[in-house]
């Protein structure tokens, strides 16, 4: 797993599946989740296999999560914001989840 180096910078907290994650300001969501020990971000729609970030530069689309009700967001690109709500995808997108605000 991963550990943090460097000093304790400005903290941001957000929610991932009913869990509060403490991140550093400027973190990507993927970095914040990995730092919190979360490797699994979603289940693939085709075979329900568990997936997590692979490339971290926007090419593999394995880190897709749902952010504030919008699906298929790249966690390696989106930066954390205080109080934001992030959820993993369980296979295909559920439309109700989408309409949650």
């Amino acid at each position: 797993m991963f550990k943090r180096i460097g000093k304790n910078e400005q903290q941001v907290t957000f929610e991932f599946l009913h869990r509060t994650v403490i991140a550093r300001e400027g973190d990507t969501i993927a970095a914040a989740l990995l730092a919190a020990g979360i490797l699994e971000f979603r289940q693939a729609p085709e075979d329900q296999s568990r997936r997590g970030p692979y490339c971290m530069i926007g090419n593999c689309f394995e880190c897709l999560v749902q952010i504030e009700g919008l699906g298929s967001r790249q966690a390696c690109r989106e930066r954390v914001r205080n109080g934001m709500r992030v959820k993993p995808h369980r296979g295909r997108i559920e439309l109700e989840e989408h309409d949650e605000t």
Binding site: M1, F2, K3, R4, I5, G6, K7, E9, R24, G26, D27, T28, A31, A32, L34, A35, L39, E40, F41, A44, E46, D47, S49, R50, R51, G52, P53, Y54, C55, M56, I57, G58, N59, C60, F61, E62, L64, L70, S72, R73, Q74, C76, R77, R79
Partner: protein, 465 residues
């Protein structure tokens, strides 16, 4: 103001082009999906410089060079910086090149007579058994986490694959106080006799770089990190996440526990945009990747669309910088801001320096070829991660008379998922080529369609208002 040139990417190739263009008086807009300049190689340079941590020292001197390059660009008034902006569409038309952009959830279009693609490299997405398990990541990904978020792997991390990045990253980890549990190297320990000639040539032109590589290896050795060479088989194992790594060198299969497996099989050009723009591409058989076909100045087969840096063929950051400057001078001359003569003269020195870098690259290409064992994924190995298509299915449809990746895509869904074939494209073409007994060039590559980056239907529809 309407830009004369749009540069896509703020890595060394893009930054160097933009700086030189701006210095010549060209209005440049530079677009990057990250919030800061540097591309992947110099990622987060400005952030790290401002953060008063030791990260910069740990990352090493090559990385530190990026900051100077970025700061020089920052001083130019003619550059319009567009960060956090993704390019999701490109269309080449007679009246110029149009890009579809997305920033702050708003879609827009922009066009310019000239667009420079400086899209950089990506790691070769080599499939192997278990590579979709959470906890299997690329070494580049871990490096990104290192630079961007100050995250480093724990001591039980296993590094696997081949290439200079493998050794560099191990050294960066040692700098930061982590000692990798094992290095599984698919390259042989020694330079083989048939590559000695290239080695000699590289040494004549670029001895310091070779020393650097050797020093990285020695340090790994001194730190007592187990380093297995000549590995020909790799498996990530675990239920729901990686728990152990199996590998074969010689006749024996070994298994070691690991909470993280970081792999690297060299880098290839990130050609998604140039493919989407319908540029001609050629298959580079030695390193097994596609690169856009360019004229001597760096123009693709689409007029007004240029490519520079590793996205146009892997030569490394230093070469990207030099090529970026040379291309920028040519473009400035084309736009009438400097004379062609001046362009050529001022580029002579850069051309000379560029020529010195080639022999080193040739040696590296030969010493670290894509791992042969990985090139033939087992039937049960997932090739297309997005749609969970296994190698076996591609082989089967080849027997059914499927002669290329586009038919394969519509028959198996490989390449139809969110990554749009970025991860499986080369592997599917290679599998078909092997199965059909043809070259990858003959078999071809996916035709790529918009969107290049995510955009919602609502954002797209907003363009009709």
């Amino acid at each position: 103001m309407k830009p004369d040139v749009i540069v896509i990417g703020t890595g060394p190739g893009g930054i160097a082009s933009a700086t030189t263009l701006a210095q010549a008086g060209v209005n440049v807009r530079i677009v990057d999906e990250q919030p800061y300049a540097g591309g992947q190689v110099y990622r987060a340079s400005e952030k790290i410089a401002a953060s008063r941590t030791s990260l910069r020292e740990w990352l090493g001197s090559d990385y530190a060079q990026g900051l100077d390059l970025i700061q020089a660009a920052r001083r130019e008034g003619n550059i319009d910086w567009c960060f956090d902006t993704s390019v999701w569409d490109i269309s080449c038309r007679e009246d110029g090149i149009q890009l579809g952009l997305l920033k702050d959830e708003k879609a827009s279009t922009i066009d310019a007579p000239h667009v420079v693609l400086a899209t950089g490299a990506m790691e070769r997405p080599t499939p192997f058994s278990g590579w979709t398990l959470p906890g299997v990541m690329s070494i580049g990904a871990a490096q990104t986490l290192f630079k961007d978020a100050g995250l480093i792997p724990d001591d039980d991390v296993v590094l696997a694959g081949s290439g200079p990045l493998l050794y560099l990253f191990a050294n960066q980890l040692l700098n930061a106080g982590t000692r990798p549990g094992l290095i599984v190297d698919t390259a042989p320990k020694w330079v083989s006799a048939r590559h000695l000639l290239q080695l000699a040539s590289a040494a004549r032109h670029n001895l310091p770089a070779l020393y650097k590589g050797l020093a990285w290896r020695q340090r790994i050795n001194r730190a007592g990190i187990p380093h297995v060479y000549g590995v020909c088989e790799l498996h990530a194992c675990g239920a729901g996440r990686v728990e152990s790594v199996k590998y074969r060198n010689g006749g024996r299969i070994q298994e070691v526990p690991a909470s993280l497996l970081l792999v690297h099989d060299g880098v290839i050009p990130n050609t998604h945009l140039s493919v989407a723009a319908n540029c001609h591409h050629i298959w580079q058989a030695r390193q097994r990747y596609w690169q856009p076909q360019l004229d001597v100045h760096g123009q693709t087969s689409q007029p007004g669309l240029w490519a520079v840096g590793d996205g146009a063929g892997i030569l490394g950051a230093e070469a990207a910088t030099l090529k970026g400057r040379i291309l920028a001078r040519h473009l400035a001359a084309k736009l009438g801001l400097i004379s062609p003569n001046e362009s050529q003269k001022t580029s002579q020195n850069d051309q000379r320096m560029l020529a010195k870098l080639i022999p080193l690259r040739r040696f590296l290409d030969q010493q670290f070829p894509p791992a042969a064992a990985f090139r033939e994924p087992g039937n049960d190995t997932v090739v297309c991660r997005c749609e969970a298509v296994k190698a076996q299915e591609i082989r089967q449809i080849a027997k059914l008379g499927c002669v290329g990746p586009n038919q394969a895509r519509s028959f198996t869904r490989a390449g139809m998922g969110p990554c749009m074939g970025r991860q499986c494209g080369n592997n599917v073409s290679q599998l078909l080529a092997d199965e059909l007994g043809k070259s990858v060039q003959e078999v071809g590559y996916y035709s790529t369609r918009p969107p290049i980056k995510p955009v919602t239907l609502g954002q797209l529809a907003s363009l009709a208002d």
